[in-house]
Symmetry: D2
Subunit: 337 residues, 4 copies
């Protein structure tokens, strides 16, 4: 039985509390929350847990093996660092931290301490993403050519976070889980329309080795809600539409066939088309957060790394930081190797 301590009972914390409480191998022992009204709510929902405003109380409790961090992003780094140093395994809300250097330090620290460091990239645990991962890993799509993601709606403007930090982390986490590669460069463009300097619309463009590219459209000022990703492969292509109630993934047996052209013509490439069936595979319906909790508990029990480990979190933060820099400078940012 893994003892769990949760920090932060605001917007997301109650969801973590709910799924970890229901996990048969875990026990929610304590919740740290400083606002009294939220603490009262935690007490109501979880009468058997110890509710405290003092984070130290979680760290010093030897029965708490793992700490879940669901606080504002600026506090992720000090809380996670303290938890790791106290010998706890840690699951941090996304994004992992607000700075690349802090993410790097957490990854290094977790390794040194032999602790599990995981990031709550919830989408990765959905039936849709799991199915896509399986299709890509089994080479059903062939070589990947592009990833194009649109995540737009009339969205809540936030005071201190722009549309990139609000929305892009989801798609970046999905991308990096699916392809397990690090981009070479980041170009980003954005604009601010609410009289402040917080971007409400942004585009991010990533280049990778082998001509693979990824592009993201993030928008808080769109009249319609779209969550759609296209994934191009040399054999098949995917449309992933998270707004579809059941057929979220459609696999198109479409593509091109490149033939060698006439030997006398250096420049001619002949291209033929291929179109076949479309399949919308059955997807697992299990709640993603429940699967994520199970996976995290497994990692803790078996001392194995999470599929959304600190490095996955770092990779997302790395692009978010470069995006910010690219928008402000208008320059393409090369990621240091």
């Amino acid at each position: 039985m893994i003892g769990i301590g949760l920090v932060g009972y605001g917007y997301w914390g109650p969801n973590l509390a709910r799924v970890f409480s229901s996990n048969k191998n875990a026990k929610l022992l304590a919740v740290c929350e400083q606002k009294s009204d939220r603490a009262a709510l935690a007490r109501l929902h979880h009468p058997h847990a110890f509710i405290t405003p003092d984070f130290e109380r979680l760290l010093e409790n030897p029965e708490i093996h793992a700490i879940l961090i669901a606080t504002p992003v600026s506090s992720h780094f000090p809380l996670a660092k303290a938890a790791l140093l106290a010998g706890k395994d840690v699951l941090v809300e996304k994004p992992l931290t607000s700075k690349v250097a802090d993410s790097e330090e957490l990854v290094r620290l977790a390794k040194e301490q032999g602790r599990i460091l995981a990031v709550d990239h919830t989408f990765v645990y959905t039936g849709a993403i799991q199915k896509m991962k399986q299709l890509i890993d089994s080479n059903d799509l062939g070589e990947l050519t592009y990833f194009d993601s649109v995540r737009i709606n009339l969205g809540l403007f936030q005071h201190d976070v722009n549309v990139v930090w609000d929305l892009a982390a989801h798609d970046l986490a999905i991308l990096f889980y699916l392809i397990q590669a690090r981009p070479i460069s980041v170009q980003a463009m954005g604009a601010c329309h609410a009289g402040n300097d917080i971007e409400n619309i942004a585009y991010i463009h990533l280049t990778f080795a082998n001509n693979f590219i990824a592009h993201f459209h993030l928008n808080w000022l769109a009249p319609v809600k779209l969550r759609r990703t296209l994934i191009g492969g040399t054999k098949k292509m995917i449309v992933y539409d998270d707004m579809e109630p059941s057929e979220k993934i459609k696999i198109y047996d479409k593509g091109i066939i490149v033939k060698d052209g006439d030997t006398n013509s250096l420049y001619k490439t002949l291209v033929d088309y291929r179109t076949g069936d479309m399949v919308a595979p059955k997807l697992a319906h299990k709640e993603a957060l429940v699967s994520e909790a199970e996976h995290f508990i497994d990692c803790v029990m078996n001392r194995t790394p999470s599929v959304t480990d600190g490095t996955a979190g770092l990779r997302v933060v790395e692009v978010l930081e470069a995006t910010q820099q690219s928008i402000k400078t208008g320059q393409k940012i090369s990621l240091k190797r």
Copy 2:
């Protein structure tokens, strides 16, 4: 009665021949076509027109007042130049030319010669674009904030033209007709997946004064066909979906209300939401090319400039050229003033 000469009876020429033949103020007098099979077709369809492989025969005919150019883009410049110098009015297939300098010369020449120079930006003459123009000009949308266009499908790869020159001219022509402004800078990204160096996927990002931005996604390797443009305004927003059989334009009475925040807080901007009805207005169903022919004949008869004149054509070519340059260099291109 305006006498018309057409050059080029390949893919698009027959459409121009058809609509100008049916126009009550125009008469198709001659067609210049060098391929004998296409010339035979022109003769069959238009038995009363003079069919010739020799362009000079059109220029020297004083009854031909206007020349329509529907040949490959590389020949647009010399043909249009010769026609203008021969005192003819000219309608050129899009894009106007393959180089900015050539477009500039044609614009200058038309002005010097007092001739009508028009570009066949057909979409501009659709009921959908005409309705959007009217909504924008009457300030129904408020101040425009962004223009986001997606034009993708599993498309015909072309030997010598990339996806940008094939598809973007449509959306750029629409954008410039709607907003009548010149961009400040062009950033573009693309990739080649068919074993040649012809881009099959590209993104273009334009910045304008007043934080207005425009973004384009062009793709020949998409599993689904999408033609969708979002236009953001401070009062209303539009979704223009050209794949919809009848409701191509949807106007959303949605937006944000920016309020002054607390005076003690320099950084706080309060944003409220506003959502109302959606309206899909009835659109004129007239064939765009018929309207375009009528407009061009009117311009010729009344010596008034076309709404898709040489300058409109130049603006499109200017962005296409900068796009090419930006993709190859990875740099943001500032358009010279």
Copy 3:
């Protein structure tokens, strides 16, 4: 403050308990539930309510002014009758009863006793239906011509209730709320495909005065989930699609114009078409059940009839009963006047 007693804490009861508990003019005083596990749940959710297996305890409590009945349909009649005789106002789950005669008796009894009798036709209280009611009452649609409803999905087969009793009550309640007329005849057709004699697919056809007709398709064996109603009017027409996340109602300014034909021709009628804008109006987002609870409490406090009163419930049961009879006999059933 209206004292509330609830009977039945199974599938729907908890929802009633929730919305009435939250109503500022009501107080949930008691819940009657005979299954111990459900009673325990009621106790957990509503610690201040008196939980009892004995319905008499609710009837004899003078502080309970109104009884909510959320038990299986076969028990609606005896429970509602007892409640009315005990001087309570009553809200009954739909359908009101399983027999027309029982519904008639409840309506008569409520009248005699001067009690409020309401039926839980929840859909009537949605923003969508409220908007349609307003459009019809203001004559925006002109004279109504037809109502065509499709409510199909891969649905839960029930042991003792067929697809008509499961699904049609929703659409009948909507129809009768919108048009306030009683059908002349009922024709129904159905089939049983699960090896029993419980219909899993059925069609109901109602005729009314003035050529207005209503048609319903109910299906538990459909591969897709559809909830769509077309309403034809001589001026405008509506498509109501409850599966749409936001634009549930679309109003089409379409119709025909009937002109007198040639006087020499007795039979010729000239028909012209008219098409205009489509509007998807903004709808109220308030939860329907919350609105329903407010309305019921208002009725109780002000002694005014509910818009979904016993007569509305009776009308639905009348058609359900006639439908059953028509399916079994293959005959058209005329409703007695």
Copy 4:
């Protein structure tokens, strides 16, 4: 080379002329058309064909082996009869005749004369219907349970033909091609809203052996255009949506599993759900009318019956006639055996 004579060059005749002219085994020798303007058009399009107002000229020409009849429905019977008696093979526009007795006579006559009698049920020759036929014949769907068809739009009101004769022939032809069974009974309902007694909305319900049912919704007064058919099977189900540009057929691996219930309970049937992938198969894109012409020419050359032979045409007319009778009487019509 099969010599072809066409009667009727109105709305549909030109299409038949076009596809039979292009067929490599057929030659369009003559067109019979009495209206001079339509005859002139036939002459323009088919300069090598003999154009005549006199049907006898076609019958007496021994080089004409087959007659295509594309005239108003009331003339189908006399023209087809004369053609068969003159020893010609015949392809008749749908519906075959306006009376069952006439269709029966044509079927009998064709048999006696050893002539090919085919009906132009064009939809049968589409890639979509061919694919569905193949799925049904290979038992991929299991036992069929229902066929539900919706064909509605804001349609052209016709002077002398109601919505059933205008639209239902398509769906009936599709149904009978797919299932090859004859209904037991016909129930139909309709209404007239244009001030005449021509139905503009109608529903048809057919019963068959083994609990299979078919239902049709036909409507000229609908605000939206729908052409959608659901086909239920015990193994799989199909949604056929002819308005979809490419994915017209979707096959759902969904259904129910009926288990024997408790032996002590005579009435209990246990039902489980099964849901799997959805597949939209690639469909042949060949124009249906071209395939139909090829099939008819094959039948003529090889003296084999058409898949849309006179009996197929008769079956459709039989239901159309019974529908008319059922609408007028309000009775269920049993088809005589």
